[in-house]
């Protein structure tokens, strides 16, 4: 097999140290695991998008050079063991409580970078209150939200984000919206809140979309470093195992059904709107409210 030509591969800067190192006669490292990822086998099913997004988060942490000051909060869901996969400090939260735990850490160490990684059951059902309030408080944290429209870990029950008529273990006749209501569109919901600096919905079904997802995740971290406000990236994801599909069919189902219901795009970006921070944008929005305009003396 022909060895890849290093000159043809655009390597991320963070890997440069290791890349190109000769490890044996005729063998050279061309790509490496991000430093912040540990050398363990994950518990994710083959073809699961959790693995892709874990990797993207790790690449962003590496590229921003923040591993030493990053504290990650793992959820309860298929990514519950994330504390084993990451080399930065990690805390395992109770189901849905990651934003509250992240708040506690960030308030103690504002100079740290704190991220929560949560599934849809975790973030949009049991932890809705914690999510909405961390967002509206404008906690300077980064949230990565994996919306796979199902409760993966517990074996495929209906999630708050399961689509109308989607068959799951607990909606065996299809989600009947007349009885159990409608899916929650988290990005749209959170974009209305003043504490939020940035919300974008991305997916990872193609190389192009994966690159866009990485850009969004990196921005969500950069916003925190710059003190701009709460940032959340919703990743429309798949669960091939509980959807009962091959990974490729799952991506097709995602494109056919998930993306029309959960359109990709930026739902809020205060910087793009011309503000320095979420707080500035909030002040402008409340410009006719005298009490909201009162200046705080520090």
């Amino acid at each position: 097999m022909a060895k890849p030509n290093k000159a043809l591969i655009k390597l991320p800067a963070y890997q440069e140290e290791r890349i190109g190192t000769q490890i044996a006669e005729g063998e050279t490292i061309r790509a490496a695991r991000p430093h912040v990822l540990t050398d363990v086998v994950t518990n994710y099913c083959p073809g699961c998008t959790h693995g892709i997004v874990n990797r993207l988060v790790a690449e962003c942490i590496d590229e921003l050079g923040i591993e030493g000051k990053t504290v990650g909060i793992a959820p309860v869901g298929c990514s519950v063991m994330m504390y084993d996969f990451f080399n930065c400090d990690m805390i395992e939260a109770a189901h849905g409580r990651a934003p509250a735990v992240a708040t506690g850490v960030k308030r103690v160490h504002p100079e740290n970078v704190v991220f929560a990684y949560q599934g849809d059951g975790d973030l949009a059902s049991i932890g809705t209150a914690e999510t909405v309030h961390a967002a509206t408080r404008g906690e300077k944290i980064t949230v990565i939200f994996i919306n796979n429209a199902i409760y993966g870990m517990t074996g495929g029950q209906m999630a708050p984000t399961s689509l109308p008529n989607q068959v799951t273990q607990t909606s065996p006749y299809g989600r009947d919206v007349s009885k159990v209501g409608y899916p929650v569109r988290i990005s749209e919901l959170l974009a209305t809140l003043d504490g939020v600096a940035y919300v974008e919905r991305v997916t990872c079904d193609s190389r192009q979309h994966i690159m866009q997802a990485k850009k969004a995740i990196k921005k969500a971290f950069q916003n925190q470093i710059d003190g701009i406000g709460y940032s959340l990236v919703e990743v429309v994801a798949t669960c091939p195992t509980n959807w009962g599909m091959t990974p490729l069919d799952a991506f097709q189902w995602l494109r056919d059904n998930m993306l029309p219901y959960y359109p990709l795009g930026v739902y809020k970006d205060v910087v793009a709107d011309g503000f320095a921070t979420a707080a500035d944008a909030a002040l402008e929005r409340a410009k006719d409210c005298p009490i909201a305009q009162q200046k705080k003396e520090d």
Binding site: M90, I91, A93, A100, V105, V108
Partner: protein, 378 residues
């Protein structure tokens, strides 16, 4: 200062700089005091969206290495159960204050001790305990919360102050503990405060999918519990040297019991008072000594339908008789009622002997007693 304010002031003096809570009566003054003062000394007061969020913020702050606390009252403490269990499971220190009110459900807002089981039998799911301190004076509100922080850090465990509405609202003179020099607080090399690339990453976690590993961590934690039981049982004894009848009471109930025991002595009854200061660990060694010293009867007096009496029975283990007298729902017994109960014990008559309204210790108090001490104008 009110008892609740003293708790807040002493906590800050103990080095607590982070408070997360949700409003509820009768702990209100504590949070209000924190809200006012904490920001002026470089601390953080945050009103959370719920007690569930508050305790999980405490968990996060504790994991990050801070001295941190929360306070609530009975219904709110139920919601904290989840977070306290995770704190215990992940060995995170922090202080939880419960200024108890009557229950169950929304209950009332008058003083009560109805959360004794909840506090001492593990607040939340799983196999764990936490040290519980029961102040009976405003001075003890100050002293015990100081100790609660130190014990929490030393043994990496949540600890609780189990107060009640009476001591929380009461004003008494108090000598505040010294300001803790923050640089003397114990180091927490296990904290998830960022590795700074100088050490292996820290993990705060309570998940162990391997049963053997989980058993090992529980065994290790229970070894710490054994040390706490060995070294940190605390109680006050009054007139116990020659006591034949020992009244056991904590917190607000102990103040009433104290008067009743004095009155019993005046009547020639050899009564004494054992006041547990730690409810967990329960002062079993003191009970051993009292049994060895000739106490033949114990009378547990509580502001509930009989909870601590179970621990008294376990500790006495058949060596003496054990009786109970209590009032519930926020009603405080009078010293006379307690004295009557002591006299029953002295006469060898069972205290809880019938459902006849008005019988001492009867589950149905006499209508005249159904008014609270406040309503009776006492």
């Amino acid at each position: 200062m009110k008892g609740n304010e003293v708790l807040a002031e002493a906590a800050m003096r103990a080095g607590c700089r982070f408070f997360f809570g949700y409003p509820i009566t009768p702990q209100t003054e504590l949070a209000a005091y924190m809200a006012k003062k904490l920001p002026t000394i470089g601390g953080t007061f945050l009103q959370a969206e719920s007690e569930i969020a508050a305790i999980n913020m405490v968990y996060g702050a504790a994991a990050a290495g801070a001295r941190v606390m929360t306070s609530s009252s009975s219904p709110g403490v139920s919601l904290k159960g989840e977070g306290v269990s995770y704190m215990a499971g992940a060995d995170c220190p922090g202080v939880i204050v419960n200024v108890q009110r009557g229950g169950p459900g929304l209950g009332g807002i008058q003083p009560s001790q109805s959360d004794y089981f909840q506090a001492t039998r593990a607040l939340g799911h799983g196999d764990f305990y936490m040290p519980v301190f029961a102040p009976s004076t405003v001075q003890e509100m100050a002293d015990l919360i100081y100790d609660a922080f130190d014990l929490a850090d030393e043994y990496r465990t949540p600890t609780m102050i189990l107060a009640d509405g009476m001591i929380g609202q009461m004003m008494e003179p108090v000598l505040l503990p010294p300001e803790r020099d923050l640089s003397t607080l114990p180091a927490k090399p296990w904290a998830t405060s960022g590795s700074r690339m100088e050490r292996k990453h820290n993990v705060i976690n309570s998940l162990y999918l391997s049963p053997n590993k989980l058993e090992d961590t529980n065994y290790e934690r229970f070894e710490r519990y054994e040390q706490i039981k060995e070294k940190h049982q605390r109680q006050e004894l009054m007139s116990c040297d020659d006591a034949q009848i020992v009244v056991v009471a904590f917190g607000a109930a102990s103040r009433i019991a104290r008067t009743a025991v004095r009155d019993a002595r005046k009547k020639g009854i050899k009564a004494g008072l054992l006041r547990p200061i730690t409810l967990w660990p329960f002062p079993t060694k003191a009970i051993d000594e009292l049994c060895d010293g000739g106490a033949s009867s114990f009378l547990s007096v509580e502001l509930n339908m009989g909870q601590m009496v179970q621990d008294v029975r376990l500790a006495v283990n058949g060596r003496a008789s054990v009786d109970f007298y209590g009032r519930t729902g926020g009603v405080l017994p009078t010293p006379e009622e307690v004295l009557q109960a002591i006299e029953k014990v002295a006469a060898g008559e069972p205290v809880v002997q019938s459902a006849e309204p008005g019988a001492v210790g009867s589950l149905l108090p006499h209508p005249k007693h159904r008014k609270s001490s406040y309503e009776r104008g006492e």
